[in-house]
Amino acid sequence: MKIISVIKQVPDAEARIRATPTGIDLDGVTFVIDGMDEYGVEQSLRLREGGLDTELISLALGPKRFEEAIRTSLAMGSDRAIHIETDEALDPITQAKVLASIIQEEGAELVFVGGKEADWDSAALGPAIAEALGWPHSDWTTRLEINDTSLSVTHDSDEGSETLTLPLPAVITTQQGLNEPRYPTLPNIMKAKRKELKKLTLADVGSPSGKTQVLKQEIQTKSRLNKVVQGDAADAAKELARLLHEEAKAI
């Protein structure tokens, strides 16, 4: 059975990103594999370690710099990778179609996608890939077991959590709690350099055009009062309560 993990490379959470008149400037920013994607890679490794006979493939759609994140997934233990290289910022629906076409071609039966991506703040990719393939999906998945031809999972719902069973093939989007991703070891980082990384272009997948266009990007700011209340604990607390009540009229 083939398992595919979709990989994204995103700015490190602590990275300082700047806005320019033409958009976000990511120059000099440290990039990492998206933490939500690591959960997927880790889960596929654990399925294999649990005895499942499987080939693990990393799949990415994005600019050349994504190679680093792909190598991280190979160093964690994926067997090989496919990178559709493009500088175009395609919307999630268009991306999902492209990724689904590769997933179909590979004949994979289980696909992991990060639950919420740290560049778009988007949770759409996983469900959209599932829809493009005509497969069921589980989102925000915190536990996963495989039983022959079906999956038993726990996922977060709006009201709390639920267990689900769903038949394979299926798409799983990840959530914190699914597992604790491993760090690649030095020998495995060396080994990853020799693993297959197949390159494709958008032209190979029919040169799709996007459905949305980003017009503007700005650093989000909301001006804040930044008032630090002075005094010992009791006085400061009293003054804070007064400010919240009288000045902010909030309590």
Binding site: I93, A124, L125, A128, G134, H137, T165, V228, A233, A237
Partner: protein
């Protein structure tokens, strides 16, 4: 027309439903067409008549297969409705389930998706939305290049609609396919809180690692929250330590909230945490480290030990 999917829970409308209606109304004024609200589920008559106070046309789709919110049957019903009514836009709440089926609906309609939007406008017949990206550090303006379009709307941003209609309720059959029933729901565990739900709370008191322990929450956070009738939030560090349930986590992988007042106790203010709460109207921080990043986004702060300041603050707010 603009199709709105009204979320409800056990027959009572969620606040997000009324927020969607106000977003849809202003969109319909710019895009043309009436607003129609759809309710999906079982035993909907109570919610439907409530909804009809806010919108002229309600469509109730009742089916046992819609009792749980599952992406596939929802997608089928909504796609069929959107096609039949020739919707220009389908508006969904960006709740966990809404995010999940809206992406499928967009794919099935081959329509642009604008996700988790915070404002909507129309220029030259095209829909333009604001949304956050990069862990909510960036606001971006995105244009949809075609109609129809699927939009998920961030909760707690748009105003709630006013009850000024006396609409009609039409019932419709769900017309599901066998494949819509592939995902079976087993056990459900409700997030346990005897308190105000985080996404509807007007005041939230959040504890971070600085609160010290699970007992610290009982001793410091809960009494202050009770005194303010507030919801309780937690950082991931606190959830990972097992002091509080995940359902209370605020941030990138937890809930996104925007209450009137957000009080952060012993919270450092990591980017992943800020991304879940930085739209709060007023932010209050109590932290013993004057350099903690949380103070950068705070309106009011006290540099001090939560063990001393929080009980004093509880006394002070109780005697207001």
């Amino acid at each position: 027309m603009i199709l709105v999917i009204a979320e409800h829970s056990n027959g009572s409308l969620k606040k997000s439903a009324l927020e969607l209606l106000s977003a849809a109304k202003s969109l319909s004024e710019k895009l043309g067409g009436e607003v129609v609200a759809a309710l999906l589920g079982q035993d909907l008559s109570g919610a439907a008549s409530e909804l009809a106070k806010y919108v002229n046309k309600v469509i109730a789709v009742e089916d046992a297969a819609l009792a749980d919110v599952r992406a596939e049957p929802y997608t089928t019903v909504l796609t069929n409705l959107a096609k039949e009514l020739e919707a220009k836009a389908v508006l969904v709440s960006a709740s966990k389930s809404g995010l999940s089926y809206s992406a499928r609906v967009a794919m099935r309609l081959d329509a642009p998706l604008l996700e988790d939007v915070t404002s909507l406008d129309v220029e030259g017949g095209q829909v333009i939305a604001s949304r956050f990206s990069y862990l909510a550090r960036v606001t971006e303006t995105v244009k949809a290049l075609a109609l129809p379009i699927v939009i998920s709307v961030k909760p707690n941003i748009f105003p709630v609609a006013e009850a000024s209609a006396s609409g009609t309720v039409d019932k419709k059959a769900a017309d599901l396919a066998a494949s819509d029933d592939r995902v079976k729901v087993g056990e459900k565990a409700a997030a346990k809180t005897g308190r105000v739900a985080l996404d509807e709370a007007d005041i939230i008191v959040t504890g971070g690692r600085g609160v010290g322990s699970a007992e610290g929450f009982t001793k410091l956070v809960e009494p202050l929250a009770d005194a303010l009738s507030a919801g309780i939030g937690a950082t991931r560090a606190v959830v990972d330590a097992g002091w509080r349930p995940y359902s209370e986590q605020v941030g990138q992988t937890g809930k996104t909230v925007a209450p009137g007042v957000y009080i952060a106790l012993g919270v450092s203010g990591a980017v992943q945490h800020l991304s879940g709460m930085n739209r709060s109207k007023i932010i209050v921080a109590i932290n013993k480290d004057a350099d903690a990043p949380i103070f950068k986004v705070a309106d009011y702060g006290i540099v001090g030990d939560v063990n001393e300041v929080v009980p004093a603050l509880k006394e002070a707010v109780s005697s207001l």
